[in-house]
């Protein structure tokens, strides 16, 4: 109310909980199934010690782990940078000088082995280690060297690139270079030869790497001289990484591969660590001034390098067969997860800083641009013209996750209250005030960075400008210096009072649900979760059950016991009471508990097999209509009766094969529009539906999922539901669902600078008008893809801004506007685009687009499309950015080198396989629609780790052992492997596993005893503790409890497990190597 000028961040309203996001992370319940109850209240806190890192405050963090601890780590990094191994030195000359700050990472290789220790110095060592391993790996196998190297070559690429440390301000160019960094190490590893090669040549060898460099170089040179800054970027990426990196994680991964002699994996790991390191590079504030000159020098070196390497490309035009033989599977690009925490400043030197990979662990410092968690772009430079974009064949899209969970060490988002007048906005485009609005005329007016309009500064908001042209108060006002702020919404943003948090639980009690224990599981989960619902006088709860009727319950306190109200008209439903069906939580706790306990027994003998699902949700909606809120539905069988009833189309499809074949994808479409219409209505009244499907049969997810999709909810799918192992997950899913950071009655709009406009939004929401999306509920897990299109040319050298505004109501009933602004440079250089491509985002985007096509397009076309997306990008790169390379080579842009692998994985994923169950596919498709970028990758390319040898590894810092490539050749009979994709977690037990280990880990004495239903328990032995620690860590990372399942080689469960081995050759799919060849052939065919 006070000065419209806008209270300072300090004036936060009491209710505000900036840290709520972070705090909530702790809420992700990670109980062991055997003790779910006890954890319940304290769940968040009681996490096993190991998993705590996030939960804890920075201090512990730093201690136990590679502390992200910002500055000290950074500072140190640079210090140690003593000249390292020879190879590096070769490089270092180029690099090192460039940046004073960044110690040449490669230099330290030797220490790594020795030094696990925490000291920062170790970091570099780890890097070195990686390099070594690579080298070793490659050298043995690649006898002749040159050919293989091509793959290896990626490092070389990085080499050249590396010099330009990502760390430094110069934003645009970094990507490719960064990656280059890692490559060096490999070089180092191959000590014998490498040294010579290392410096200049290595780069050449790596086809992909090299190519990437070229583009960079060009821009630098050809580019505007003015862009000295650009040049700076190039320098010493290698050096920078070490600084940022947190010591511990790196070492472990490396060590393992090294030991195993043939380890093909070695190299990949190395590479990855590097990559991550580079990105992390939050260089210690280097003196920019010094660098530029060197930068110039650098570029020159690059070109040389890049040109030279042409020879190495792996793939010759020769026949595929031969090619295969030449390709060493162990050296093809693979993702290398890093547990190193990266520190990321969103802008440096007034330049956008390309974000770290979405899948990595990073801490963001908001220095102008919003955190990449909230919004990231598929390309970190915006092509000035539509032609340039289409030439690149890449997607231009934003992935927006407006309420994403922050890292606990990140600063909370600041809340700004402008009082009654509301936040300052552009009067033309209504864009919100942000750091990129330019104040002119002594601050009397400002130019909107979105539409270019000049607005008058509101009188109360006026402030003089400093000599640098910025407002003097810019640094004190969050909205002028932070990429993300939250505004307190004034009256004009409310059409009604902010809604209370309303939770309505709808439980299936038909015969099937009762008998399978689904009802009991749901009731128990709800009963436990009640305690976690947001406290507050307005929080209200309702409950209903349904079979062929709908049963509401009057929970009014005055009644002696709940009163069951049955709505029998399931064609034309209504709510049985005006009030009292939804009651304030504080008034009905006892009744609610009583009721939830008695529901399973009350319906124990229910003989009604029918489910009036559609009618039930409609009725529940009617009960909630006046407020809106969350409708959580527990459904077990196909809706067979009443409004929106469905038929068992799947069975019909099966019995009529010929028709089924022709229109297989029809089954993935909703059966009719009834539910869609209903869903639109729900959304209009702010009712968000989440479905928990606990079933053993076909329930036509394709049809019913329309409801959660349209209302901002999601489908949780438990198939086949078992009363033994699933209740724990159900409970945890439910708990996370209600405790995670979220908002209600939200509206989101993304605004772009002139020249770019939003083409479409996709995700789980309801869209009524083209510009906005309506989100009855939005939570930290939901991501919305925003595709962009040009409607004009962009000015080169300018920046293009994207602003996502989310108006929502918090669970405590405050109305807020969260505004995230991202400003990216514009470029006319194709190579810049490739260099700044964001692989994870790019792929998430492809994933969503392709998946979106599946229901409407025949599968062969979809797979073709997916392949083409990949091929076209690579082709474009090959054609325009790697022209110098021999045509026989497959050259991958460094930034996108994993694209083929991910594409292959995508082709083999559940949703794109014709052989899967329809519901599985539908569920997968639905899952993808709201999936966040960090979870998109593991979904198609799961993480696999070996857990039979846990005791051999020291996991002091990083809990998760190094990953194993998804190839069956890595799955040994003696091993136990754990594979997880964010939702499911399969543990595959080999047939000749050491029984002792088996017993310690899983509590069974032989492979034969593997139960079909598995409950993870913690036994009193270190192995089991470690396993539990690992799984809990994964759960925490994924914000998902995971469906655990034991698999055994040779039986169907083993087959399931093997189906995740995406690199294998399967009857219907190519192996990774084959796929690369396949891609290569296509590219060549396209080349003139």
């Amino acid at each position: 109310m006070a000065a419209p000028g806008g209270p300072r961040p300090g004036n936060l309203p009491p209710g505000y909980m900036p840290n709520s996001l972070a705090n909530n992370m702790q809420n992700l319940q990670i109980n062991q199934p055997n003790q779910p109850q006890s954890n319940n209240p304290t769940g968040g806190v009681s996490r096993p010690p190991n998993t705590t890192p996030f939960g804890q405050q920075p201090p512990p963090f730093a201690g136990s782990r590679p502390g992200p601890p910002p500055h000290s780590a950074f500072v140190r990094g640079p210090v140690p940078p003593s000249p390292s191994g020879p190879p590096q030195t070769t490089l270092s000359p180029n690099v090192a000088p460039a940046r004073p700050a960044g110690p040449p990472p490669g230099s330290q290789p030797p220490p790594p082995f020795v030094s696990r220790p925490l000291p920062p110095g170790s970091l570099p060592s780890s890097m070195g280690g990686a390099t070594v391993s690579l080298a070793s790996g490659s050298s043995p196998q690649l006898g002749p060297g040159p050919h293989h190297r091509p793959f290896v070559s990626s490092p070389p690429m990085s080499g050249p690139a590396a010099p330009h440390p990502l760390s430094n301000g110069p934003p645009g160019i970094t990507m490719a270079q960064l990656q280059a960094g890692p490559r060096f190490p490999p070089v180092m590893g191959s000590t014998p030869r490498p040294p010579p090669i290392a410096a200049p040549q290595p780069a050449t060898m790596l086809s992909s790497g090299s190519s990437s460099q070229r583009p960079q170089l060009r821009p630098n040179f050809g580019g505007r001289p003015a862009s000295a800054s650009l040049a700076t970027t190039h320098p010493g990426p290698s050096s920078a990484p070490p600084q940022n990196m947190l010591p511990p994680p790196a070492p472990s991964p490396f060590s393992a591969p090294i030991q195993s002699v043939p380890p093909p994996s070695g190299s990949p790991y190395g590479m990855q660590t590097w990559m991550s390191q580079q990105q992390q590079v939050a260089p210690p504030p280097p003196v920019p001034g010094l660098q530029p000159p060197r930068m110039f020098g650098m570029p020159q070196t690059h070109p040389n390098q890049s040109l030279a390497p042409t020879s190495p490309s792996l793939f010759h035009t020769g026949a595929a067969g031969t090619a295969q033989s030449k390709v060493d599977p162990s050296h093809i690009p693979r993702p290398i997860p890093s547990s190193v925490v990266i520190l990321h400043e969103t802008r440096q030197g007034n330049q956008a800083n390309p974000p770290p990979p979405a899948t990595s662990d990073y801490i963001v410092k908001d220095t102008g641009n919003c955190s990449p968690r909230f919004m990231r772009c598929t390309i970190n430079q915006i092509p000035c013209t539509v032609d340039l974009l289409s030439t690149s064949a890449m997607q231009l899209a934003l992935l927006v996750q407006p309420l994403a969970l922050p890292h606990p060490s990140e600063e909370p988002i600041q809340v700004v209250d402008f009082g009654e007048s509301g936040p300052v906005r552009c009067s033309r485009c209504k864009g919100y005030i942000n750091p990129f609005m330019k104040f002119i005329d002594q601050g009397r007016s400002f130019i909107c960075n979105l539409c270019g309009f000049t607005d008058e500064t509101p009188r109360d908001y006026h402030c003089n400008l400093g000599p640098d042209g910025r407002r003097r108060d810019a640094d004190e006002r969050p909205e002028l210096c932070k990429g993300t702020v939250e505004f307190v919404a004034s009256k004009e943003y409310m059409v009604r009072d902010p809604m209370p948090a309303v939770y309505f639980f709808l439980i299936d009690v038909s015969t099937n649900a009762i008998q399978t224990g689904a009802t009991a599981a749901a009731c128990s989960a709800i009963n436990q979760v009640i305690a976690d619902l947001p406290e507050g006088p307005r929080t209200a709860v309702g409950i209903a059950t349904f079979d062929s009727n709908i049963h509401f319950y009057n929970l009014k306190r005055a009644l002696q016991q709940p009163l069951m109200l049955i709505v029998p008209d399931i064609q034309d439903v209504y709510t049985p009471l005006e009030s009292d069906v939804i009651v304030q939580l504080s008034e009905c706790r006892q009744h609610l508990e009583l009721l939830l306990e008695s529901i399973p027994t009350m319906f124990q003998n229910n003989r009604i097999g029918d489910s009036a699902f559609g009618a039930a949700i409609k009725a529940a909606y009617l009960a909630m209509k006046s407020t809106g809120g969350k409708l959580l539905v527990f459904q077990s069988v196909l809706p067979s009766i009443g409004i929106g009833s469905l038929s068992a189309r799947e069975a019909e499809g099966r019995s009529n094969i010929s028709a089924g074949e022709k229109e297989a994808n029809k089954l993935l479409q909703p059966a009719d529009k009834t539910l869609k219409t209903m869903a639109m209505e729900f959304a209009e009244y702010q009712v968000c539906v989440d479905l928990f499907i606990t079933t053993q049969t076909y329930v036509d997810i394709a049809s019913i999922s329309v409801i959660p999709r349209t209302t901002g909810g999601r489908v949780y799918y438990y198939y086949p539901f078992t009363a033994l192992s699933d209740p724990a997950k159900l409970y945890n899913d439910l708990r996370w669902n209600v405790t995670r950071p979220q908002g209600f009655e939200a509206v989101m709009r993304v605004r772009c600078s002139q020249g770019i406009q939003v083409q479409d939004y996709s995700g789980n929401f309801c869209k009524r008008i083209p510009t906005d999306v309506d989100l009855p509920a939005i939570d930290c897990d939901k991501t919305i893809m925003v595709t962009l299109k040009h409607d004009d040319k962009l000015q080169e050298g300018s920046e293009c801004a994207f602003q996502c505004a989310l108006l929502y109501t918090t669970v405590y009933g405050q109305r807020r506007i969260r505004v995230s602004t991202l400003s990216l440079p514009c470029t006319t250089m194709l190579s810049n685009l490739f260099r700044s491509a964001d692989l994870d985002t790019q792929f998430a985007c492809i994933l969503k687009q392709v998946t979106g096509e599946v229901p409407s397009t025949p599968l062969p076309q979809v797979t073709e499309q997916a392949k083409n997306l990949c091929i076209n990008i690579l082709h474009s790169y090959r054609k325009f950015c790697a022209t110098a390379t021999a045509s026989g080579q497959l050259i991958l842009p460094e930034a996108l080198k994993l694209l083929p692998l991910y594409t292959l994985a995508l082709l083999k994923s559940c949703g794109l396989r014709a052989d899967g169950r329809i519901d599985d596919r539908s569920s997968w498709i639905n899952y993808v629609s709201h999936l966040s970028t960090p979870l998109a990758i593991p979904l198609v390319y799961p993480r696999m780790i070996a857990i039979h040898n846990l005791d051999e590894k020291e996991l002091d810092s990083s809990l998760i052992p190094e990953t194993v490539p998804l190839s069956s050749e890595h799955i040994t009979d003696e091993g136990i492997f754990l594979l997880e994709n964010g939702e499911d977690c399969l543990i595959c037990v080999g047939n000749s596993v050491n029984p002792d280990i088996l017993h310690q880990l899983l509590g069974i004495s032989s492979v034969e005893e593997i139960p079909s239903q598995f409950v993870l328990q913690q036994y009193d032995n270190p192995l089991s503790k470690k396993l539990n620690g690992i799984i809990n860590e994964i759960r925490r990372q994924r914000c998902s409890y995971l469906r655990l399942k034991l698999c055994r080689k040779g039986d169907p469960s083993g087959t399931t497990f093997l189906s995740y081995m995406v690199e294998d050759k399967t009857p219907s799919g190519l192996s990774y190597v084959e796929f690369l060849i396949h891609v290569h052939q296509h590219i060549q065919r396209k080349m003139p």
């Binding site: 009163l563 049955i566 709505v567 008209d569 209504y574 005006e578």
Partner: protein, 781 residues
């Protein structure tokens, strides 16, 4: 009242039949000249001390199905009886072989024109027959919750009391409603369970059953496996019955549940916008109740007992909009066709009535509200099913409370509520039946005795009476077929009519009451003497009242007053003794002498002067007029007045304002209300408390006497009349004044003695009326 004219104290006798004409004119033409239609008011199951109950099946004529009766000619040697209706010769069966002139079965005793048979089996549903367990009657209570808390509490406590006195085996169900209908499942032990139906949607019986999971075709309840096979389930095989037992439980089992349920039941929760009526879906509630009962075993007697607290404003059967500024329809609106809801609601209740009749179930309505609740619309359903109706101002009022109590009472006070009655009428040739006014429904059973013209429920010789009780009374309108062949007239001077009433008595037995009556044919062409002697003026007055009411309802723009006047004049012209055009010469035979006064009072009564009442009240009065016995109906038309004073015994007084005196107490019984009226002096004495002084015991007795008499009247009556105790010049005195003949009005007040009263009205007094009548009657027409 009118004691001298009625020497018999029990005019109905064992037959329970009173006819307007006890000697019938021979021909149609003659009949029409009689002015008053030939009609019989019958009381089908009238209790009588001499009534014999025979524990066997009656013998029926093999051609006309009439039952063996005292008027049959019996040939004891040949063991043959001859049906008096169709003259068919029937053989007695084997077990009658021992009969002889001296050994007659009861049904042949001439002094038992009425006799009752107990039918030992249950013909409609042989599978379910179990002699030990007669089917228990069902009581389905429906409670409106759209009322103020206080009213609801009254209603709830009335219900509780009722449930407490129900026989243990009576099946009980409960439905509450407001904006929505809530059907309470009583057989669910875990918690209170309620089926909720929306008030705005009309549901067919099948839909209701389907939604209760009781449908015979819907497999919703049967579970997955049986879904497709559901069609084969027949309602009789027990499955349906099993289902309905969730809702209907023996009173002994559900009393506790119901009581606690009623304790928790609050007023309707749906909000009522200011300026609006509560949304009340009486129509749907009744529809759902009827549907629910449809699942009960066919032939089981059932009553829907609805306690209604206001007008239906939601869904089918709505009578008024929810906007309070929009008043409920009045007679004026109905006349002008300005009642937009009326026709639709009537149609709805007609259909509901049909459904209930087909199921054999009864609708009782207990309406307590200051506003109208829609009895006018519900009337059709109530009357067709033989239901009871009570209209009161409040559920706390004795009119409701005591009436409600009475229906469940046992023993002598019992109403003798019976179910599933069917009335059949056999009559001699030349007699046709036009129809019946009263609580019944035509079964459309065609036969030779069906007349061409229809009055009330006609076109049939059989009627359904879903509910009937000891006092239920029907008016049968007869016609004489114009028999040109007067030659046959001489042969048979006697006519016979047989009423066969089968019903399920309150104790569950199936009974058949056979009443055979005989009357004389007279040839009115010869002289009117026989006709005159056979005239029953009370019955005639009541029949005229019923017919006039019926015509007012059925015929557009029917002017009842004119119609009555015309008929009265015609009657007087025909049967009066007078010299033409000499009013002073006019005299009437004693058999007719009261009739003009009845007509005078009828013209002024609520039945004809409807504009003083709401349509609901009118409907209520008419329902009762049609179902009450003649003597009660007569009181409705012409109230009785008794005067109490110190100097004389209580004596009937003239129904005239001149009967009012300062030192008298008057007791007026107008059937719907009983008024005790204290003269001014009496009132003063009483106010001074003389009655409490020992020396004035006589005064106390005087005060008490009318109260005692009033209680006697009230005790026997259903619905319980409203008791009004008032003083001269008090506001409540209007209940008396309205009924009195205004012989003294403001226009001639100066002529009156002191202490008497005047009535401020322009109505003509009886004297004026009679004067006019005489003048008109003697005019040559």
């Amino acid at each position: 009242m009118a004691a001298p004219e009625l020497p018999q104290t029990d005019p109905e006798g064992i037959e329970g039949v009173r006819m307007t004409w006890n000697n019938w004119p021979r021909t149609k033409v003659e009949a029409s000249k009689c002015v008053i239609p030939i009609a019989a008011s019958i009381q089908p199951i009238r209790p009588h001390v001499d009534l014999h109950v025979l524990p066997y099946i009656p013998l029926r004529c093999k051609s006309c199905t009439s039952v063996l009766n005292p008027f049959c000619r019996v040939d004891f040697t040949a063991l043959i009886w001859i049906c008096p209706f169709c003259f068919q010769r029937n053989h007695f069966p084997q077990h009658y072989t021992s009969i002889s002139q001296t050994n007659l079965p009861a049904e042949l005793y001439p002094n038992f024109p009425s006799i009752e048979y107990t039918i030992p089996n249950y013909p409609q549903n042989p599978q379910n027959y179990n002699p030990a367990v007669p089917p228990s009657p069902i009581y389905l209570f429906i409670l409106d919750t759209c009322m103020i808390e206080e009213e609801l509490d009254f209603a709830k406590s009335a219900l509780k009391r009722a449930i407490g006195v129900l026989p243990d085996n009576a099946m009980v169900g409960f439905i509450s409603y407001g904006t929505q209908v809530q059907v309470h499942e009583l057989g669910f032990s875990e918690m209170s369970k309620v089926y909720v139906f929306r008030g705005s949607k009309e549901l067919s019986k099948d839909q209701v059953l389907e939604q209760f999971g009781l449908g015979s075709s819907g497999g919703r309840r049967a579970g997955i496996g049986v879904q497709k096979a559901g069609g084969q389930l027949s309602p009789a095989d027990g499955t349906a019955n099993l289902g309905i037992n969730r809702f209907l439980l023996p009173a002994s089992e559900c009393e506790y549940t119901l009581n606690s349920l009623l304790d928790e039941l609050g007023t309707d929760q749906w909000p009522v916008a200011p300026g609006n009526r509560a949304l009340r879906c009486s129509g749907v509630a009744l529809g759902v109740a009827a549907g629910l009962l449809g699942a009960s075993t066919v032939g089981t007697g059932a009553r829907i007992i609805a306690l209604v607290g206001g007008p239906c404003t939601e869904g089918p059967g709505a009578i008024v909009s929810k906007d309070l500024s929009d008043p409920a329809r009045s007679h004026k609106d109905l006349d002008k066709d300005a009642a937009p809801f009326f026709k639709k609601a009537i149609h709805f209740y007609e259909e509901l009535g049909k459904q209930l009749v087909s199921q054999g179930h009864v609708l009782d309505v207990y309406a307590s509200a200051l506003d109208q609740v829609g009895i006018a619309e519900m009337k059709v359903a109530i009357e067709r099913t033989g239901g009871l109706v009570v209209l009161a101002e409040s559920f706390g009022h004795s009119v409701f409370k005591d009436s409600f109590k009475r229906i469940f009472e046992d023993g002598e006070q019992s109403l003798g509520l019976s179910f599933n009655g069917t009335l059949e009428i056999n009559c001699s040739k030349d007699i046709k039946i036009q129809g019946i006014l009263g609580p019944c429904t035509s079964l459309e059973k065609k036969g030779p005795a069906v007349a061409n013209t229809v009055i009330g429920q006609g076109n049939t010789t059989a009627w359904k009476m879903c509910g009937l009780d000891k006092n239920t009374c029907l008016t049968v309108f007869f016609d004489v077929s114009s028999s040109e062949k007067s030659d046959s007239s001489g042969t048979n001077p006697v006519l016979y009519i047989q009423f066969l009433t089968s019903y399920q008595s309150s104790d569950g037995q199936t009974r058949l009451r056979v009443t055979t009556v005989t009357r004389q044919w007279v040839d009115s062409a010869v002289g009117t003497e026989d006709l005159v002697q056979g005239f029953d003026q009370e019955a005639a007055a009541v029949v005229m009242a019923r017919l006039a009411s019926y015509k007012m309802e059925m015929e557009e723009a029917f002017d009842a007053t004119r119609w009555l006047d015309r008929n009265l004049i015609r009657l007087c012209s025909k049967f009066g003794d007078y010299r033409k055009d000499d009013p002073t010469s006019f005299t009437l035979n004693p058999c007719f002498s009261l009739f003009p006064q009845f007509m005078f009072n009828l013209r002024r009564s609520q039945f004809i002067q409807v504009f003083n009442n709401s349509p609901d009240e009118t409907a209520y009065f008419r329902i009762l007029l049609n179902r009450e016995i003649i003597s009660n109906a007569t009181v409705m038309i012409q109230p009785s007045l008794i005067s109490y004073s110190f100097n004389s015994l209580p004596a009937p007084a003239l129904l005239d304002v001149s009967s009012i005196a300062a030192d008298r107490i008057l007791l007026l019984d107008s059937y719907f209300s009983v008024v005790i009226f204290h003269g001014m002096t009496i009132a003063q004495w009483r106010n001074m408390g003389y009655q409490n002084q020992p020396e004035h015991q006589a005064f106390a007795h005087l005060l008490q006497a009318p109260h005692d008499d009033a209680q006697l009247i009230i005790r026997d009556r259903f619905p319980v009349p409203r008791l009004v105790v008032c003083d001269q010049h008090g506001s409540q005195a209007r209940f008396l004044l309205a009924k009195l003949n205004p012989s003294a009005t403001y226009s001639n007040a100066h002529e009156m003695a002191a202490g008497s009263d005047v009535i401020f009205t322009d109505d003509v007094s009886l004297q004026v009326f009679i004067d006019h009548l005489q003048r008109l009657a003697v005019q040559a027409s």
